[in-house]
């Protein structure tokens, strides 16, 4: 009974975190801020969702597989975020505030426009 | 009402199919056409899997807890179709790469114009 309630709470909380991450992804101003919001909330959300399913399954082989999945998510998600940030920095994005970073294609057009005007 | 709900999947399938067809017809970019074709293909997969579903049944893996199973035959067909689809998409992409290297553009209208400019008038 208690385990069922705990499982429901974990699933609900994980869903709420996912929703928060989604709202952050859409509404925040620039790339790095959005990445931070999406990655942090969604890593924790996945962990809670899988934990909720684990509590529901009880003691079975599937629980060990789900535990392995949690470990993988905890390791892989931040590494993916790091890879994304690194690629963006390589492509000349900068975490400036109040300034929407342009794609490098349009940035070249802008800089050439600025130099001619 | 149950009839309409039961046919909702088919409506979605036809919508996706028509979206894919629209992309293939209306977009001049070759890669976008290929993506539209993959969209069309995905809608056909959904159609087949919809045919196989049996309400109250489970996945077609025999176990003690299930009495009814979904039809395994569409699953078999679509399983191979998905992997064959990615292989043929790869062939299409390889052709597009060669076309780009030959013509300098992946825009179908520009390629047509280049081809027509090369045509000699018939004597």
């Amino acid at each position: 009974m208690l385990i069922g309630l705990l499982s429901d709470l974990c699933l609900l909380f994980g869903g709420l975190l996912c929703l928060t991450g989604g709202v952050g992804l859409l509404r925040l101003p620039s790339f790095f801020v959005r990445l931070h919001a999406a990655s942090v909330t969604e890593t924790l959300a996945t962990v809670f969702l899988i934990a909720g399913v684990m509590l529901d399954t009880g003691w079975a082989l599937d629980t060990a597989k789900l535990l392995l999945l949690i470990v993988i998510m905890f390791v892989a998600n931040p590494s993916i975020t790091h890879a994304l940030c690194r690629t963006a920095a390589h492509g000349k994005y900068r975490p400036e505030s109040n300034h929407e970073p342009q794609a490098s294609h349009q940035q070249e057009n802008q800089s050439s426009n600025n130099s001619t005007s | 009402m149950n009839e309409i709900l039961g046919h909702f999947n088919y409506l979605i399938v036809v919508l996706l199919m028509m979206m894919g067809l629209y992309v293939v017809i209306a977009s001049p970019n070759l890669i976008k056409k290929l993506i539209g074709l993959s969209l069309f293909q995905a809608s056909v997969f959904i159609l087949f899997i919809t045919f196989g579903k049996v309400s109250g049944g489970g996945p077609p893996i025999l176990s003690q807890q299930l009495t009814a199973y979904s039809n395994p035959l569409p699953h078999v067909l679509i399983l191979t179709a998905i992997v064959v689809g990615v292989a043929t998409t790869a062939v299409g992409l390889a052709l597009i790469v060669r076309v780009y290297e030959a013509y300098g553009t992946t825009d179908e209208d520009e390629i047509d114009a280049m081809d027509n400019a090369d045509d000699k008038p018939v004597v």
Partner: protein, 299 residues
């Protein structure tokens, strides 16, 4: 939407949602394959093709009107056609009548494998699967002929990305072991040769994306891949020919061992191994072909 990068990403998301849809309709094997193939391999392939062509679409001068008319008429005709279809989940639909209950009944007696999809794929409809495997093999050969495989010396050393290097190394090992697990566990749960081949190739693709092409080509040289693919098809057809030479029908696994059921088990094992080998080699071959092609910059 003129940025094709965004279009490809959206297509990857669409494939993933389609996989969830398949899962909801009790098609676990199909959902597995669609997630591995659609959300993984297709995205990488399309991005590789994008690197070799142009990223932004030109402004289209076409009129959308004609296309909309055609699409609306076709859509209306198709919806009129679907009115006769059975409702979703109807157990009395004609599609559940003839062959499917037979397969569901005969699988425990004749083949003894819990996963009916694997039994149908490898045993009851083994001939179709042989054809599909040959199609996949031919597609790999065509891509190799069109693009060439590239050479290991053409790639410069990848720069040092310490975090990714440390994290990806055990992950690649895990992915390869998981692929082998899926290959051999396909008889009992969702899985089988197709999924396992794709996942095995994804492990190599991940390694190549992080560690660089020249490392990966030293691990698995490109010239081996067409040979491995051909070996997979040979394994499949060879199993069929073996039972042919034993006096039975082509691809009849009953002749492979002493009792028919263990013959079926052995036959399914060999055939799925052949499929997995061919799919893995072909997907990796296609990736090598795309990444080995030098980008030609056109103005």
């Amino acid at each position: 939407m003129r940025d094709l990068f965004a279009v490809i990403m959206l297509f990857g998301i669409f494939s993933f949602i389609a996989a969830l849809l398949f899962l909801d309709m009790d098609a676990v094997d199909v959902a597995f394959t669609e997630a591995a193939v659609g959300a993984g391999v297709t995205t990488v392939l399309m991005l590789s093709a994008l690197r070799l062509t142009q990223r932004y679409e030109n402004v289209s001068h076409r009129h959308a009107g004609m296309a909309l008319v055609v699409v609306t008429l076709t859509g209306a005709a198709l919806i009129y056609g679907t009115l006769d279809f059975p409702s979703l989940g109807d157990p009395n639909a004609p599609v559940h009548e003839h062959v499917a209950p037979e397969y569901l009944q005969q699988t425990p007696e004749k083949i003894g494998v819990p996963n009916v999809v694997t039994a149908v794929l490898a045993s009851f409809r083994g001939y179709d699967t042989l054809g599909e495997t040959v199609v996949i093999f031919s597609a790999g050969i065509v891509v190799m002929l069109l693009l060439g495989l590239g050479r290991a010396e053409d790639f410069e050393q990848q720069e040092d990305i310490l975090i990714l290097w440390v994290v990806v190394k055990p992950m690649v090992a895990l992915i390869l072991v998981f692929a082998l697990y899926v290959q051999f566990h396909g008889d009992f749960g969702a899985g089988g040769g197709f999924q396992a081949g794709v996942i095995f190739a994804s492990g190599f693709i991940l390694y190549s994306l992080v560690y660089g092409e020249n490392h990966t080509r030293k691990v698995l040289p490109a010239r081996w891949l067409p040979r491995l693919a051909a070996l997979g098809v040979l394994l499949y057809a060879g199993t069929g020919m073996f039972s042919f030479f034993k006096g039975q029908v082509f691809l009849d696994y009953n002749a492979l061992a002493d009792s028919p059921v263990s013959g079926q088990h052995l036959g399914i094992l060999l055939v799925e191994a052949g499929v997995g080998l061919t799919v893995f080699s072909t997907v990796l071959l296609i990736f090598y072909a795309f990444s080995g092609r030098r980008a030609v910059v056109h103005e």
